[in-house]
Symmetry: D2
Subunit: 276 residues, 4 copies
């Protein structure tokens, strides 16, 4: 606290007062209870409730009024850290009706798409809404994600996930087939995670503004070859396909090494830009 | 154009009119002249000027009034595409006083930091301002990047780059040493790309809000081992170190394969979260 | 058979007659029963016995007299291929008292060591004898592997494995500590797979002939750093450390991609040559 | 020398006497002059000659009579180590009429082929004879490599390389097309490094003994897909395709990291075994 006061002279008008209030956990806030990297739980806090884990239960009343970054003991004495969920924490905990895209790939998809606050983005398919949520996180509050999904039954799961992520207002969910039509025009980016991206390329072209980006994620080489061919034929340039291999490290003095287990492959990411 | 009219009924109030105007290149606009992936140029358009390339010169008057995604011929008949530079295009073309962080790594740094529109971020060192610019791109318009650099002579280059990227308003450049002090408090993230990140960990802890993220980029294993040790000792949890290996693919029917040349290593990315 | 006869004119004196006899499975021969890549079994054939698998039992009398590459049906109709075990098949099936070195790493260890038929090689530690067996395979019949192991209880397992591999005659097993002494001199290569290779470097230097190779396998970076330091200080040159990352591919028209699961890391291989 | 005498009691009959004589460089011996990892030269020693390098010339008379692992000074004082070339040193220095296979890939090809001293191996195409030479190194002295090449002009270079490697006696070079015919039968392995391996699969099947191995190296995915299809259709089992990614490490206390530059891709290795 002394340190904070020391700083306060420098911070006039920087919103620290508001930040301090936001640092306190109120009833109804989402928290990430963290025991270790493998055992984490996102819950919405409710007074007088208990949250049960394999390491005893946690009194939610001990969480409310605490601050993010604080600690709480379970009924049998295990210490949990109370974190504030990021969009990627939500993603890992999303209800899944489909395989979801990994953070390492989302990171590159966002990068290659060139989007940012204010961007208008078409995405297909919605699936569980995990990628949708991250896109919305980056284009909010003035941008919008138009997310297409032909399997109507998935949209309800996606809607619940997006609501939980806190980004539903920045998404328009559409039960429609991007292969048949894309209803938007002059969008900044089209992002595809579906089985036959090459069939979407003509409509993506139409929907994009000039110089706008298409980014497609596909697990197999054959999908990539067909998609690149369609991009070439439909007036896209700056076509590139990459694969991101993420290597986790075990860092410990005297025992430092890459992790033994590794995700060998998730998919290829192809991106390009529209020209006239 | 017919397609655009067909769509117009769907797009009332979606800002397409504004988008259409923004699609036209005005004098003073930045454009990326694209011949192929290896030969691209970012220039600010000015009437009656010529831009000289190894493939002849381009009349800038042919560019102004054209639209992004359009094409222009050089004096000896080579076709250039006129693209709108993204933040990553600017990054590749940034004036460099230092080695700059690669897009593949920036993508993960942004992801692990959890930042988005509105975030307040401390970054050090500024270097050429490349990473600074991308961070600003994602936190704008309501967020801010506080970027520290001890080598005063680099700040002028960084300022020029950030101005060119169009994000200078969202950055506060500071000629100061983060190892001695960080003047902000309750920030969402601290992002480090400097030689001795472990020495910054105590100040980063003080500056961060509870549950806030620290992300550090380092080329060598020894830097990582020291940084992880400092994070453990200073109350951080959820500590993870990863390395991103980007594999570019050559996609061509009958000749598909990973590229022969590859960046073998850039650096390790360590991230963690503050607890009390 | 017709094809073989057609060839016979070309093959006088090439030992095909002998090869034809060796193609027949006799009682007491080892065979690899292969159902698919995950379900394989090495057995020694014995008349009137049955071999039980999850897919029914196999009458060994159906195997004896058959030829390598032939097929046999289990009692419930599953088809097994009868293969001749290679040294690497034996390695995968070796009785293990320790973690054994992977084929991808053995391949590089053999390569960097420069050994071949006739080479004299010191190896430590023996462990389960898997690497020992492969080394013996390549130096036989005129070469020799001197294999050191301080844990006497492991040597019995190693001996059994080497006998089964058919290479025991080309190995001298030693219950001794290479850190204390290496009894051979003027050897072609010293190969190390133990916890503190840097402590062996002085004795390895003494044992090697001039220009001879040392190759060391270690899982952690810290082991490698210490070993390289010891190599520099002890008159070795041409020092190089590499890591082999093996990527398995799923090859299927329309669904080609790297495998999802992957061994992320096994160890680093350091090699160098002795100078005076 | 004292140490060697101390050892001598242990080494009766181990051929050390012969080894000691072989340790001396005679006229006509090949030596590898080593300045650093990037500057190495293989030469045949001849009395009264000079060998010129960018770091001055070396008097060959200073090399003859020296021992392998010894050192020699150039005319301007640079120290060169005199090493004994391994088969892989020769490979790196081979005269090239074609792209040659990398050591990391040869290591796996040898492993998957299961060959060793005494094996009979068919190989195509010969190219510069680099892979041929390594195969001969491992099958000698009782085995044989039958190496096919349709481009007659390459065979002369291959012959010179194999002679220099010291393994020409263990190779039979053939100016013939493996797609049309393979003249051997009951061979242990068929190893392919040519543009259309799938066209060779039927002849490879015929030439192999039962349970014998085929190993094919191809740069592109499409080659691999066709080859695997042909293997399935021609009675091969245990089919697997892998890619070896070799990561070189820069090991230096305080600056340890993977090398910046890396070979991104050389080729895929497919192996399988013949069944009846």
């Amino acid at each position: 606290m002394i340190e904070l006061e020391k700083k306060s002279a420098f911070m006039k008008g920087t919103g620290v007062g508001k930040a301090m209030d936001e640092a306190i956990i109120h009833e109804g806030s989402d928290v990430l209870l963290f025991l270790d990297r493998r055992r984490t739980y996102i819950i919405k806090t409710k007074k007088r409730e208990k949250f049960h884990t394999h390491k005893g239960f946690i009194q939610i009343d001990d969480v409310i009024g605490n601050r993010y970054g604080g600690r709480v003991l379970s009924s049998i004495g295990f210490e949990f850290v109370i974190l504030k969920p990021t969009i990627y924490d939500y993603l890992k905990k999303a209800r899944r009706s489909t395989q979801i895209v990994y953070s390492k790939d989302i990171a590159l998809i966002v990068t290659y798409s060139g989007i940012g606050p204010g961007s208008r983005v078409v995405e297909a398919g919605t699936g569980s809404g995990a990628l949708t949520g991250v896109l919305a996180h980056y284009v909010k509050p003035s941008g919008k994600v138009y997310s297409y999904e032909i399997r109507g039954e998935f949209l309800e799961t996606a809607r619940k996930n997006l609501k939980r992520f806190g980004v539903l207002n920045f998404v328009e969910l559409k039960n429609a087939d991007v292969i048949l039509d894309i209803f938007e025009a002059e969008v900044d980016a089209v992002i595809l995670d579906l089985a036959t991206p090459w069939l979407v390329v003509p409509n993506a072209y139409e929907a994009l503004k000039g110089s706008g980006c298409i980014v497609s994620f596909s697990p197999t080489i054959e999908q990539v070859v067909k998609t690149v061919k369609a991009l070439v034929e439909n007036g896209f340039v700056d076509i590139e396909t990459t694969e991101s291999i993420l290597r986790k490290m075990k860092i410990k003095e005297g025992a430092t090494r890459p992790e033994t287990l590794m995700r060998g492959h998730t998919g290829y990411i192809t991106h390009a830009r529209k020209t006239y």
